[in-house]
Symmetry: C2
Subunit: 429 residues, 2 copies
Amino acid sequence: MNGGVSPVRLGVLGCGTVGSAFVRLVQDGAAAIEARTGLRLEVARVGVRNLSADRDVELGPGVLTRDTHAIVTDPAIDVVVETIGGIEPARHLVLDALAAGKPVVTANKELVANCGSELFGAAERAGVDLQFEAAVAGGIPLVRVLRESLVGEPIHRIIGIVNGTTNFILTKMTSEGADYGDVLAEAQRLGYAEADPTSDVEGFDAGAKAAIMATIAFGARVVAGDVYSEGIAHITPSDIDAAGRMGHVIKLLAIVERVDGEIAVRVHPAMVPAEHPLASVRDSFNAVFVQGAAVGDLMLYGRGAGGLPTASALVGDTIAAAADLRRGTHRGLGVLADLPLRPIDETDSAFYVQLDVDDRPGVLAEVAGLFGRHGVSIRSMEQEGRGDEARLMFITHEAREADMQSTLRDLRHLAPVRRVGNRIRVIES
Amino acid sequence: MNGGVSPVRLGVLGCGTVGSAFVRLVQDGAAAIEARTGLRLEVARVGVRNLSADRDVELGPGVLTRDTHAIVTDPAIDVVVETIGGIEPARHLVLDALAAGKPVVTANKELVANCGSELFGAAERAGVDLQFEAAVAGGIPLVRVLRESLVGEPIHRIIGIVNGTTNFILTKMTSEGADYGDVLAEAQRLGYAEADPTSDVEGFDAGAKAAIMATIAFGARVVAGDVYSEGIAHITPSDIDAAGRMGHVIKLLAIVERVDGEIAVRVHPAMVPAEHPLASVRDSFNAVFVQGAAVGDLMLYGRGAGGLPTASALVGDTIAAAADLRRGTHRGLGVLADLPLRPIDETDSAFYVQLDVDDRPGVLAEVAGLFGRHGVSIRSMEQEGRGDEARLMFITHEAREADMQSTLRDLRHLAPVRRVGNRIRVIES
């Protein structure tokens, strides 16, 4: 089978953790991939910033180059695989590759979440594939499932645990009753969290993934900046403890949903019932829970980050892009519509609310009356402690975000309320 | 966007639970699917055995026909969707449709598991798609993920809960401590189990799915008859209780794995650690756990049966087949190899074994000695009860199946052993 088959020549941009893992997978797997698919993948050029950096890959002479632009315009390169990350220079390189008629495979979440429309349009005009499985949830094949298997499915909602760092931190806080700060420091020591953890713990990383999920699930133009984000830094062991006593665990969720013709896209911590499939997603694992009108509940679970899982997704995409190229076809993203985005104020959710209060008769009635005046209905209440330690914990029925916010504002000025603790959204099963 | 687009005319074979759900999904979703994909799906003909049967679908005059063969040869039909089930007449109809140059979408597990090679060959010769997502695990997009996302992934093993009936029964037995027979009767009353439950409870249904999984995961020719099957009818509340005390749950698993260049494919009950993602797959839900060298652990979870989830998979496949047809391309299954099948006797597994024994000093030494002489090493032992109720429960390290079988044979003849209970395989996390 060898001999006659002309290779698919890959131009790889970047050779860090993901790029070098990709190069090794292609080299080690080339024979098996050719036996199965008839495609002979060959790493022809690898573009890097620094030729002499230590890399755990073996490349022939002349494969490494600093001239990344020469790769994307080289007529001898068939498919471009982008692993640089960030917006520029990745954006220009991808656009130039597409303009040169080369299919592009990318692992670049920022790029797709911020410039998706521009890139999809360029790919469509060039008549080539733009594949980005590795940009969302690493090795989990979410993008292909949403783009192909579920393209005809009326999807109501997607709830994802799509950030491994925060899931690791919340899992540790839950199993050890530890403080956020201590666990974050441990995660940084172990390499699960970056020195500057802002993008992870404030929900921006998950927000970029939510934008991509909304785009492909609903065929809507949604960018990272459209996503409302709350992080996990304010979550306390007391919140986690209260969640546990009520049969819930706290997770950082990326939620995209369709409500009355509008799209709502947000990231925030939420209490998830212990029997929900997302509740048992532990440590740095990711999972995405899809609710469709016909398919029902569907969940994809796996490694959302890391060199090898991410590179595995790049390999699958590269084979698909190469096969489409050889067949003279391409797969687009279909028509993207400008669907209205629902502001966070207008979304509905159940809430958990913690209040430190004076411990005397009549307080509950005062507090409950205030909830009621804002149209927020209480589903359950529990008192913890007595006297100076008295704390009320409420779970509401579904309430409008704006109503909940005004309830909290007024609670802060209610005489018997000494402190308004966290309010955390609650997901029904 | 309407007007100019010529419809993709679908010929649907069969209009039972799945077929009628498919017709409704296509009719209700046509506008959204066209807006997203540019494809106008139209149910042009529906072939049934009985024209006057009650069906929950609305079809124009002349759409229903008893002449199924006329559908697959009708030049006006673009794509054939087969929901009849069983080998014949489905096999001939599918082969004739392919020979007539029509892509085929099928939900037929028996057909693909028994005649896959023949059908894939016919599709390849005709240069059209043969799509069969709905044939394995209903709405779970396993086939597309294995065929496309993971086609380059070195997959070690797949462990699936792919039969909803048995998972429902085992879940009930676990939560209620009930007998197999009682729960089966309840499942039959609720419509979760058929009047003749043999195919489900003996593992044959899961076995057919295992054959398909092995075919697409390893590119190997595996048919239903190659699969070793053990059912769940012998599982007792005592087994489930013992599993629980050791932190496990009992599940019926379909396992396909690659061992030293051979393929092992089997279905049997097994104890799964409570913290394993498969352990929390409850009721009639299905899930498939994939272990790959690069992607790591991956799990797909969802509705493995039922009209709507299965029809959802058919819709996804129909859109893919129609898109490929319009692009003048097709997606094959690649090269299938004749990989050697490893006999069950030569597979390795950890085992749980229950023995009723005489309660006197020296018995454990005798029993342990016998295990040892067969090369089966004991990982843990626990005694339950004293005197006439004395029971020993062992978990072994990984042992060769044949060695375990000869151990059990000899245990039955060991004087202090009054009864050899079930031996159940144990999955490590």
